[in-house]
Assembly symmetry: D2
């Protein structure tokens, strides 16, 4: 085993995971924003949606296409309860007031990067997908050793996933320009905090790396 985090992806043992790229939190009409007036939305989330629409989602689409092309497993996790009333959510989500009911539009991955074919989506009820879903079990069964992460929020669910994945022995690649949070300061700060736990590259670098490999 090579003892480094700077390891190019081996498609046969790699997976791409999109975190919380769903209507609830990535669509202007999503549940997370419904209590905001248009003015408030623009004020608090104006930068976020602009970044999302002009940069982050296009980067995600490019990464998704490259991974699919290379035969890399693509997975999704979204905040979604297993019930309508959310009684199965974490205590933390209950306190926060987050409930994305089972089967709701809010719980769906946004159309721009919607799952196709036989791709896996894991509904989750807490910040870290490794705590509230059986993703570690699934990745084990898929033979995954290297995990590529994109999504939001950079400093919340994404950062928690990076920390836990790293501790669990996955070699984590964070696609920095395919992650987003509510302000550029928070995004940059998280990237800096987390850099010891993963490899950080841009979507362009990742796509070049994947493209330079012979297809699986």
């Amino acid at each position: 085993m090579t003892l480094t985090r700077d390891l190019a992806l081996d498609p046969a043992v790699s997976a791409l995971l999109f975190i919380d790229v769903q209507n609830f939190s990535c669509h202007r009409e999503g549940g997370e924003f419904k209590h905001l007036s248009p003015q408030e939305l623009e004020q608090t989330c104006g930068w976020y949606f602009k970044e999302l629409e002009t940069s982050v989602v296009p980067n995600m689409q490019a990464v998704q296409a490259a991974c699919r092309e290379a035969g890399i497993e693509v997975l999704y996790t979204t905040i979604e309860s297993l019930t309508l009333d959310g009684r199965d959510r974490s205590l933390d989500y209950k306190i926060t007031g987050f409930n994305v009911p089972k089967g709701s539009w809010d719980g769906k991955v946004i159309d721009a990067i919607a799952p196709i074919g036989d791709e896996i989506n894991l509904p989750k009820g807490s910040s870290s997908v490794f705590i509230s879903t059986n993703i570690d079990y699934i990745l084990r069964n898929l033979g995954v050793k290297q995990l590529v992460l994109c999504g939001m929020l950079t400093d919340q669910c994404v950062e928690s996933a990076i920390r836990d994945a790293c501790d669990l022995g996955y070699l984590v690649t964070q696609v920095t320009d395919a992650c987003l949070t509510l302000t550029p300061e928070r995004h940059d700060q998280s990237i800096k905090t987390i850099k010891g736990y993963c490899r950080q590259i841009t979507s362009a670098q990742l796509i070049e790396e994947i493209g330079s490999k012979p297809t699986a």
Copy 2:
């Protein structure tokens, strides 16, 4: 805390779990039996289906009705992959050759005890629901301390669930006449082996116990 396994259910902290009561393994046309001719099915599974139809399923229905009436959470787990091709299954299920594709008829709970309303079903890809799903996390969020188990096979998935649930600190009640396996000998043997890990009562006893409590 009372240090005994012989504790009547407190509906507020109890849940009923049905294990693998699904078309795949509980319907004569289920996937587990499709390689058998009618004669072979009768020969190898004649006792099983007769027990199921005349006794076990009616007992399950009665237990289910009593738990719903008392406000006890009713959950289900079924063998079902998160994919069509089953690549997310356990290595064990891959070796065995079990694959119940996502969304298939085989993966559905049998009509007789079908989930209603906001009840939870957890698809699983291994014998023990505690290893291959996040049920422990879900039960924690639901506040469950006492777990009632029914289903099949008594000596396989049910026994594994009892062992793990017990180790995890749940007070487990096995409804012995709402569990089934392929022969009466195997059933009786498992009941005997597992008796130190749980409380074992009949469906009639359970229903009486629940009925004697004021409704939640």
Copy 3:
């Protein structure tokens, strides 16, 4: 990946685990038997200790020596609390009344197969070592894929470990004549029940298999 349970050990990805081969439960003066008079001990455990001393422990010693010789990791787990008063034990062990205090003689592996050098011992507070310890995490870090199990009781802690290890994706080898429980009937019954979850071979077969491999 070869989809079979009948795979000879690859020493580089194999480990041997001894379960509960400790003074508490394998020594005539162990805590589990201290409430018994010599006559009662002979009556209830006479067969057990005779088997243990004349057959099972010698088999364990031979398996242990062969594994060490082949460079196979040797691990141990013993019932032992992390405290003197046992407050960290599982609810099940509290109900049963089992408490092997931290650091006690009862918690030590028996002299005949005592750990040497840098071998790992994991204290556990429930039946299944996979539920109450971090062994899955440790085996992952060690790169273990194939797990050899010996110990006692065949139908309790050993069987629980086999079930969970199998579900977790380990290829499990049970050394049938290096496992023991209180009666030959219970031992034989468990071996039969569990045979779909593992490969079952004798200590002689295992030693021959290991010996026929070039040393790692």
Copy 4:
């Protein structure tokens, strides 16, 4: 259940956990610093050790004394392998080069807050104590619902523990002036990032809160 993070401790269901307050990382002669000359140590860690010695350790001692007085369980986790050569560590620690051998001085809690009596210490081989140890299992058996965290580094092992504990349903209290990392900027940033996952109070506030309760 009260849906708030701002809940005063109930000693009967609370525990205090010290994270990595050990010679390796909290003593000027600890292993983490042994490659530094005295000048380099002063330059890179001067602020850290001054804070530690003049403020953080005294705060920890006060919190520890108050918790012990109130009958609150006090636990510790330290970076320490289960082996001498560290083969059981996480891949991440192997890459980083951290190995605190089993039983070493580096792995001991610093004298100033050393465990006494029957207190529990959990050796860990990764950043988050919830990933690499069985602490969740232990806390469950202890009946803990509220977890107080102190230690270092604020933005690494402490932050990971807060995130995971929160997701797992514990009500977390971070004692902000009993946590430390290498610079004040990093400390403040982490406190800000993590504030949605826990209650943050000072050691003085915690001690007052505990003191105002009748002793258990």
